[in-house]
Each structure stands twice: as structure tokens, then as C-alpha cells.
């Protein structure tokens, strides 16, 4: 009988035009609702399109502006004075040349006597050859080199109220401030927070007295080739010599690659955060479509009575989803293109140049395809149930639910979703290991959030406040109404809250760590770069000001030549990663010597030897975490180069060091009796009672010992604070997508359940409830929802921050209660506000009128 074309549906045409027509007709009275479902993903798509477009523009800008980032065709950098060999190379290059020496030093503004630690750059030549040193007035960027003039970073100018024409004292020399430095080539805004730049002409460097031996000065040489040069061949020729003398080089190409890499990391991070917001939205879509399908069961049943088969019914609704998914994605892409204009402003402190924003069609198309794909994928979960709706529902509605959830095809959809998430992540990360880790982390995060959400809901149900008044109880029990979206709302709003809270807690932790060190009689002022000849003088000056000299610690700089006889090149060959790490070699070590452990140190392993033996290898002590990361063991032999003199040492002990305090802490400590005669400088620790005394003392130190730098706790706090608030701003901006997605899901869910709410409202009014009582019930319901959601976020964030505090920051975690309460209350009230605004149709109009209109 199934061969009869009259009864065999496989022989019937699919009739796509009719399916489209039916999809269009069926959506007629639901279009705004359908659009609302999809609106959950608009923001996610917007975030991704904005980030992709921004990434495209960034790549384009890096290509266009790489030359201005380094300001020359070739740059050499060295932490040591350059060797005669390198000098020969410099001299031999047929190019225009500039030279720069930069170092950290205190500067003093005579007007107001303000002092500040800065990055001093002494410049000679016409650098930059590409781009400009951006100053106000513009000509100052070039002209300062002609006189005894300096360029001062704009943040410094603002901080000390300095104007062009005022003076700045760098070491022994006082310069006229020729201009405000807005931007140096290749520098990013965040640098001004850490070490603001002061440019001076090189020919005054000697006179400042800051270029003495022992000062940590970096030398840079800038080259501009007027003739065409094969840069790759040149580099290939020079590289071995430069490597040997520890000179780094940069070309426009390497700069392009390096900048590209670091910004790819940034855009990758941002797009993954955007993707999380999109996933949240997708879960919102799945949940909303589930309810939509349930409401459509009767219509589907009627269609099936009239002869529509399961796949036709499925396709009618799939076409609707594709349609609204497409519209939603287009809107998202447009919004993303708009948000893209804002991103350079959000990231301004991390960008080395101004970004020219153009529309990226690639990003827009990618966003639209992604949006349609993802809305189909997540809508499929509830949609495939449409095939199983029985026509019998036309006769008895009680038949409905039994087969809606059990469908083996669902597992296929779950698999597709997982494959999609993994695929998308892989496209971003291009690394299978990281992809797996990210997918697992995402699944875990959602799982934990869902578990917390369900646990909270369970607790509420378990300890239901039966003794409360009716309105409270009704508001509470509404969280469990059929078709409720409580869990998805708790997850999405909770995730946003968790992000914001964690950020807040970490900021608190860092500040607390810094602030802790100022308690009691701990030092809060560090004077460093004190030459041996200045040791007594600085200590005397300190005491004269009535300040304590808590300690004066000698520091000797040295480099590591080999470990157990193996040089860096030999260690590099150890690909198994079992022996000491190559990273241990090549860095500069700042080492102290003493015969006892300090209060911040504890012996972890081995034997502490405070006095060097007369003969044999010198016993040294290494900080345990550093030793672990460098895979060093007790008994390893380390050969150090102490400014030309080779010293054989052997590791005799590991120390645990508490880095939480402002203290001179060292990775490597020598015993007394070895380094006393080596070239060294000192660090002095003191404690000042207030900022005024600190400022006065600093100004005296800079005046008398211009090469000595002073860092006080206030500066550290302000730097940490500024850094955190700048990073925090970017994270908050991204967390906002998650929160707003949560809010949209909330709006959608309120709208979706509107009919159900109206029926309840009609019923309650029929039973005699006043408008105010219904309003109170609704408000309480949203308050509970918002409160549970934000509590979920806060709980997750508390757990995360506690783990960070104890494992990473090594400190006790004391969350601030008031701000947390503020976040809880703020998000709860926001939820109430949005819930009530969207329910006002139900509350304000006569119930029957509303019912009649909306059926």
C-alpha cells in the first residue's frame, strides 16, 4: 500500500514555496516575539563583529603604521654599554643614525618641589624617522634637541601642574620644559601610569651625573637607510655578532610580527569573551524556542490533522528561525559595526597608535553566518520535537508533553553544538590543547553556574517560607511556574555578576596586599641606586629628616654563565625539559650577600651557610619557587660573571620568601665574605609617616643625590590602582555584554510568559486581588530572581577569588561586605525594574481586553 503514490508521502513533493508561505503566515502574530528570542544573540553577534572588525582594522593599521612604531628601519637595543665589536657594526652601517639612552630616574619640578620616578630618554639625532614625537606645541618634538630643553609626559605635567616654559631637574641639570609629550613612537598609554617619559637631549646626559657606572642604562641605536637595503640579508649577517654581545634588534618586519602577535592575543581574548556572551544568548534562544514550540503544539496538531507531515511541520518552524536568526544577525552585525567605533576608545591605553576605523565586510558576513548558524543549532534542540507532535492533541491537550523530550536526534544536536563550540574556539586559538581546555572550562563554568542555580532553587523550595504572607509566597512560587526560565536567567545574569565581582575582589586583594605592607613598622619607602660612595650620606640625610634607616642592603649585579658546566646553547639542546631551564641564563641577577636570613625568609630545603668558606665553591641560596620554575636542584653548580670576574657557586639551600611586604627580596643570596669588594649599589628602606613628609624628603634626596631613585608606597598604590582600573574597564566592558544578554533574555522571558501571566492576573483579579497586590507579587518575583541570580554570581566569584587569594596571592581573603551587598541589591533592583516595565501591559490594561488582543 505504501507504493501507492496517493498515500506514500515520500512520493509527495516537499513544496518548499508553501512551507515558506506557511512559515510566514504562522509567524504573523508572533514576529515581535520571535524577534525577541533572537535578540538574545544580537549582542553576542554585535560583540564578535565589533571585535573581528576591530581586529581587521588593527591588522591593517599595524601593516600601515609598523614603521612609526619603531620610528626607524632598524633598531639595536642593549642593556649594557655596547662592545667595540657592536660599535664597529654601528659605524659600518650606511644609514642615518640616532642614539638613545634610557633609564629610570627621579626628576624634580622646582615649581612646587614635586618629584617622581620617570623613564628618562636621552636622545641624539633625528629620531624618529617615521612618525613623530607627538607634543604640544608640535614643533617641540624636534626643537627640544637644540637647547637645554626637555619634553615631559602629559600625565606628569598634569600631576605637578607644570606648564611649558617651567623647568624640570634631571640629575644635576635643570631643563626648560619645551613641550608636553603626548605620545612617543611605539609607546602605549598605560606606560605613562608606570613610568612616565621625560625626553632630554643626549649631550646633557653626562652632565646630569646619571650615567655613572652601575646605573642601569639601556642603549638604543636607530638606523634609517636611504638606499634600498635587503634587511633580511643584513640581519642574517649581523645576527650572530649581535646575539653574542646580547644586543636585541628590531626591524619594521619583526615589529609588525611582534605587535601583530600581541594584538592577536588581545583580540583573541576579547572574541572568546564575546563568544561566551553569544553562548549565553544561545541558551536563551534554545530556552525561548522551547516555550514557543510548546505554545505552538495545538497549531502543529491541527496542521497534522489536515495532512502536514512531521518534517513539513518541522521545516515551517525552522524557516521561521532561519528568518529571524538572519534578521537578528544583521541587526547584531550593524550594532557591532557601531560598537567597533567605541573599541579603540575602550582599549586606548593599550594601543600604540590611533586606529583608523573602516567597515570590515568580512567581519560582518562572518557575524551574520555565525548568527544564523548558531540560532539554527540552538533552536534545533526544541525544534526537532515538532516532528513528534501528535495530531491527537487536537482532541485532548493532556496528550502533549509525553514525547516532547525523548528524541534520539537530540543527542545528535548536542553533539553538533559541542562540535560547533570546539570548532569555533579552534578557529580563534588555533591550538587543539587550548581548545579542549577552553571547551572543558566553558562546559564546567556553565555546569557549576547551573548547579549553583539549581541548588539555590532547590534550597528555596526546600525551605519555602510557608509562614510568609500570601503575596511573598506567591512571588516566590512564581519562580517555579511552568515554562519558567529561572535557571537560564540565573546563569546568564550570574555569569556577568561573577565577572564583575571577581574583578572587584582581585582589585581589592591587590590593594590589600600593597596596603598590608604599610601596617605597623614595615618600611614604606625605598631608595635605590645608592652608590657605595653615597651610602653613608643618604643614611645621614634620612636620619636628619627624623626618618628611620630600617635597613641598607647591598646589591651586586651579575649574569649567569653556565649551570653545571652547560652554557645556554648546550641547555637549549635539552629538548626533554628535564635539566635546568635556558631561561635561567641570559638574565641579569641582582644579588645580595649576608650571613643571616631576614624576617621575610624561611629555609625550605638544604643548609643555610652564612659565611663563605676560605676555599672551594661559594655556597648560595635560591628562592624556592624560582628554583622550581628553573628546574634547579640543591647541589647544582652555577658559574656567575660578576662584572668581569667569574665566580663558581653551588646551590646549598632553597628559601621561601614572602614577597607580600615591601622589602628587598632576592632570588639569589650569597654568603658574607665574597662580594664585599665587588662594584655594588645599595637600597635603603625607611618609613615615612605621611605623604607631605615623604614629598619633602624625596625632594631633598633628589636635590642632593640626583641618581638615587625613591619609590614610596603611595606611588605603588596609585600605579596598581590605575593599572587595575584600566584593565578593569576593558573587562567590565566585556562583562557588560554578558549582563545585557542576561537582561535581554529576561525581557524575552517576561514577554514569552506574558500570556500565562495575563491568565494568572485575570484569575487573581477575578478572585479579588487588587492591582497593587498583583504588582507586588510581580515585583517580588523579579526581586527573588535578580537576587538569586546575583547571589549565584557572587558565590562563584567568592569561591574563585578565595582560590586566587590562597593559591596565587598567598594571602587571606577578606571580601568587602558593603560593595558586595551593593552589587546584590543593584542587580536585583535592575531585574525588578525590567520585569515590571515589561509586565506593565498586563498590569495596566483591563485583563479581558488584553486577553482578547493577544490571543
Amino acid at each position: 500500500m505504501t507504493n501507492d503514490p496517493m498515500t506514500n508521502p515520500t512520493k509527495r513533493k516537499l513544496n518548499l514555496p508553501w512551507l515558506f508561505l506557511m512559515a510566514w503566515r504562522d509567524s504573523r502574530r508572533n514576529r515581535s516575539r520571535l524577534f525577541l528570542f533572537i535578540s538574545s544573540i544580537i549582542l553576542g553577534i554585535a560583540a564578535l563583529v565589533a571585535i573581528y572588525s576591530f581586529g581587521d582594522n588593527l591588522r591593517q593599521n599595524i601593516d600601515d603604521q609598523a614603521a612609526t612604531l619603531i620610528g626607524a628601519d632598524l633598531v639595536f637595543n642593549s642593556n649594557k654599554p655596547i662592545t667595540p665589536d657592536v660599535q664597529k657594526i654601528v659605524d659600518s652601517l650606511d644609514a642615518r643614525k640616532s642614539q638613545e639612552r634610557n633609564f629610570v630616574s627621579m626628576v624634580l619640578f622646582p615649581k612646587g618641589n614635586g618629584t617622581r620616578l620617570t623613564m628618562v630618554r636621552a636622545l641624539e639625532g633625528d629620531f624618529p624617522y617615521y612618525g613623530t614625537i607627538e607634543t604640544v606645541p608640535a614643533a617641540a618634538g624636534v626643537d627640544f634637541r637644540k637647547g637645554k630643553e626637555a619634553l615631559v609626559d602629559k600625565t606628569l605635567m598634569l600631576q605637578f601642574g607644570v606648564k611649558v616654559g617651567d623647568s624640570v631637574k634631571v640629575g644635576q641639570v635643570t631643563f626648560r620644559v619645551a613641550g608636553t609629550l603626548n605620545k612617543a613612537p611605539g609607546s602605549v598609554g598605560i606606560q605613562s601610569s608606570i613610568a612616565p617619559i621625560v625626553y632630554i637631549p643626549m649631550r646633557y646626559l653626562e652632565k646630569t651625573g646619571l650615567s655613572q657606572a652601575g646605573s642601569r642604562i639601556q642603549s638604543s641605536y636607530y638606523f634609517k637607510f636611504d638606499k634600498k637595503v635587503d634587511m633580511e640579508a643584513l640581519i642574517k649577517r649581523l645576527e650572530p655578532k649581535l646575539d653574542r654581545d646580547a644586543v636585541n634588534y628590531q626591524t619594521i618586519k619583526t615589529q609588525k610580527e611582534q605587535t601583530g602577535r600581541s594584538f592577536e592575543d588581545l583580540t583573541r581574548f576579547l572574541s572568546l569573551v564575546g563568544f561566551i556572551a553569544l553562548l549565553l544568548g544561545c541558551i536563551g534562544v534554545a530556552s525561548a524556542i522551547h516555550i514557543y514550540v510548546r505554545e505552538k503544539i495545538n497549531t502543529i496538531a491541527v496542521l497534522r490533522c489536515l495532512g502536514v507531515n512531521g518534517w513539513q511541520a518541522f521545516l515551517i518552524y525552522l524557516i521561521q528561525i532561519v528568518g529571524v536568526g538572519f534578521i537578528g544577525s544583521v541587526v547584531g552585525a550593524l550594532l557591532g559595526t557601531f560598537i567597533q567605533q567605541v573599541l579603540p576608545w575602550v582599549l586606548k591605553d593599550f594601543l600604540p597608535f590611533a586606529i583608523d576605523i573602516t567597515t570590515s565586510w568580512g567581519a560582518i558576513i562572518q557575524g551574520i553566518v555565525l548568527g544564523v548558524l548558531i540560532s539554527i543549532l540552538f533552536a534545533l534542540l526544541p525544534l526537532i520535537s515538532v516532528r513528534n507532535v501528535s495530531p491527537l492533541n487536537t482532541l485532548r491537550m493532556s496528550f502533549e508533553e509525553t514525547r516532547l523530550t525523548r528524541d534520539p536526534l537530540k543527542w545528535l544536536v548536542y553533539l553538533l553544538i559541542l562540535a560547533f563550540i570546539a570548532g569555533f574556539t579552534y578557529l580563534q586559538l588555533k591550538d587543539i590543547g587550548q581548545t579542549i581546555a577552553f571547551v572543558i572550562a566553558i562546559l564546567l563554568a556553565f555546569l557549576i553556574l547551573t548547579l549553583i542555580a539549581r541548588l539555590l532553587m532547590f534550597m528555596v523550595k526546600k525551605f519555602f517560607p510557608f509562614s510568609w504572607s500570601y503575596l511573598w509566597r506567591q512571588g516566590f512560587s512564581n519562580l517555579y511556574r511552568p515554562n519558567n526560565q529561572s535557571v537560564i536567567l540565573i546563569v546568564s545574569i550570574g555569569l556577568g555578576t561573577a565577572l564583575i565581582c571577581t574583578l572587584f575582589f582581585i582589585q581589592g586583594l591587590l590593594m590589600q596586599r600593597v596596603a598590608l605592607s604599610s601596617s605597623g613598622s614595615q618600611p614604606n619607602l625605598i631608595l635605590f641606586d645608592i652608590q657605595a660612595s653615597q651610602k653613608a650620606g643618604v643614611a645621614e640625610l634620612t636620619r636628619k629628616q627624623g626618618l628611620p634607616v630600617i635597613s641598607q642592603v647591598p646589591i651586586v649585579t651579575m649574569s649567569l654563565v653556565n649551570i653545571n658546566g652547560k652554557t645556554g646553547v648546550q641547555l637549549k639542546k635539552d629538548t626533554l625539559g628535564k635539566g635546568p631551564s635556558i631561561r635561567a641564563i641570559g638574565r641579569e641577577y641582582r644579588v645580595t650577600y649576608r650571613d643571616t636570613l631576614t624576617g621575610t625568609e624561611r629555609l625550605k630545603e638544604g643548609e643555610w651557610i652564612g659565611k663563605a668558606p676560605a676555599n672551594g665553591d661559594i655556597p648560595i641560596s635560591v628562592e624556592d619557587r624560582y628554583a622550581k620554575s628553573m628546574r634547579l636542584k640543591i647541589g647544582d653548580y652555577l658559574l656567575f660573571n660578576v662584572q668581569g670576574l667569574l665566580v663558581n657557586t653551588v646551590i646549598k639551600s632553597f628559601r621561601t620568601v614572602n614577597f607580600n611586604r615591601i622589602q628587598t627580596n632576592f632570588l639569589v643570596v650569597f654568603p658574607a665574605g665574597v662580594l664585599e669588594q665587588a662594584p655594588q649599589f645599595y637600597v635603603l628602606l625607611s618609613r615615612v609617616p605621611g605623604s607631605k613628609i615623604s614629598a619633602a624628603f624625596q625632594s631633598k634626596v633628589v636635590d642632593k643625590f640626583p641618581n638615587v631613585s625613591v619609590v614610596d608606597l603611595g606611588l605603588i598604590i596609585s600605579v596598581v590602582d590605575e593599572l587595575m582600573s584600566k584593565i578593569g574597564f576593558v573587562i567590565r566592558f566585556m562583562a557588560m555584554f554578558s549582563i545585557i544578554t542576561g537582561i535581554i533574555v529576561l525581557i524575552a522571558s517576561v514577554r514569552i510568559s506574558k500570556y500565562q501571566r495575563m491568565q494568572e492576573s485575570v484569575l487573581l483579579r477575578t478572585l479579588g486581588a487588587s492591582r497593587n497586590q498583583i504588582l507586588t507579587i510581580t515585583a517580588l518575583e523579579y526581586f527573588f530572581l535578580g537576587f538569586l541570580a546575583s547571589s549565584t554570581g557572587v558565590l562563584l566569584s567568592l569561591a574563585g577569588s578565595w582560590a586566587l587569594a590562597s593559591n596565587v596571592f598567598d594571602t587571606a581573603f577578606h571580601p568587602q561586605v558593603l560593595p558586595v551587598l551593593g552589587i546584590l541589591l543593584g542587580i536585583s533592583l535592575l531585574t525588578v525594574l525590567i520585569g515590571l516595565l515589561n509586565s506593565r501591559g498586563v498590569l495596566n490594561k483591563p485583563p479581558l481586553e488584553v486577553l482578547r488582543r493577544d490571543v
Binding site: T2, M6, T7, L303, R304, C305, P391, L392
Partner: protein, 253 residues
Amino acid sequence: MTFKFNNSTILQSFNNANNFPVDHILNIKNLSKTYQSGGQPLTVLHNINIAIAAGSTAAIVGPSGSGKTTLLGLCAGLDRSSEGSVELNGIALDSLSEDERAHVRNQHVGFIFQNFQLLPTLTALENVMVPLELRGEKNIKARAVELLGKVGLAERGHHYPTQLSGGEQQRVSLARAFSNAPKILFADEPTGNLDAETSEKVVKLIFDLNREAGTTLILVTHDLELAAKTQRIIRIKGGHIVSDAAQSLVIGH
């Protein structure tokens, strides 16, 4: 009063009837339906045997929960039987998949429901057009307008169900039911949601249209007066047929 028959008498009368060269549009043999209720099997229809002659009218009556709607669902191919067979217009429904049965419904069956079951997002005219569109027929709109005219709603074709009264909705539903020229029309309490006056009009329309189209009509109803308008009344109680008689026997006082 009514005459009471036992099942064997009914079967006999059926078998007798089958000896005549009557064309049966619906043939139900040994039909049973069992549901799982709270983990326990619950048989709602027991060993039902009915044969309905093409072009005839019949009513299935019985108290609430007697199984009459279940029987209607099985006859119309909306559900699958647990035992026995249902043959509609010569097609054995039991061997068909749900999608194949949907096709059979589209080709041969019309429905009228107690709560009208119009598609709320479609206009009256579109509701009538759907079965024809599904069949891929031509000149659909003119036929749908004509049908709406027959039920007296020619002017209201562009109204949505919510803009129509209950009686009007049921008339649209009638036009839709007849639109695919069904061989058999199933009506589930067609006047259950209507007032007396509207009911009367709708009932008249059902029977007029049915007569005109030569369709077989099977009614499920509580309303004995409505049932009395059919040629045959089948009474069900507790899942069993308790009587099945031609109209003259039932109303023979």
C-alpha cells in the same frame, strides 16, 4: 425508551449488512486501545467492530470517559490501535507511519472540532485554503471563497479567528473540513461550544453540506437530539459498544 442490543446482536446485524454489496468507507475490526496509566495498563476500548457505509451518517454517543473520542481518533488515523485494525477507504491505517497517515487524512478525511481548531495566525480564507494547498491543487482561492460563501462568510474571509464569533469560527471550520472534498468527515462535539440558536444553524449547515457532497459523516456527541439526525447511533460505555442501531430502531418508542 431505547432498544438494547448485546454485542453479538450488533455483530450479527453487521455481518448481515456485509452480505449486501455495501461499500464500506470505514471498517473497524477487533479494535482495542490500551494506555499506560501510572505504570498500569488501562484499556479504554475493548474489541470494537464497526463498519460504516460510504455516504451514510452515524453518531457515536456515550458518557464522558466512555472512549468515544479515543474511538474517533483511531477511526480518523490520529492514533494507532493496540490491537485490531482500522481500514479507511480501503487503506489499512495500522500499517502506516504517522506521516503516511497524515497524507491519508489530507486526501480522504475532514475534521470538525468542538473548539473549532482554526489556525489563529491565518485568516478565515487561508484556513480554508490550507488542505487544498497541501494537496498542491490549483485555483485554490476561488474554491475557498466559494466554500466560505456556502457557509455564509464570503465577506469575512480576511478576518482572523479571534475577530470572529464562535458560530462563525465553526462555520469556517466547516468550510475547511469540506475543502478537500473528503470521503469521510469526523465531527467531535461540533456544537459543544455554541449556543442553541447558533448550534441549530451549524448543524443544518453540516447536514446540508454533507448531503450535497455525499460525504460520510461520523459525529461524536453528547447531544442525543443531534445524534438523532444521523442514520445510525453507536453507543459506547466503558470502552464497549452497548448498542449500534439504525435510526429507526433507536428512536422507536
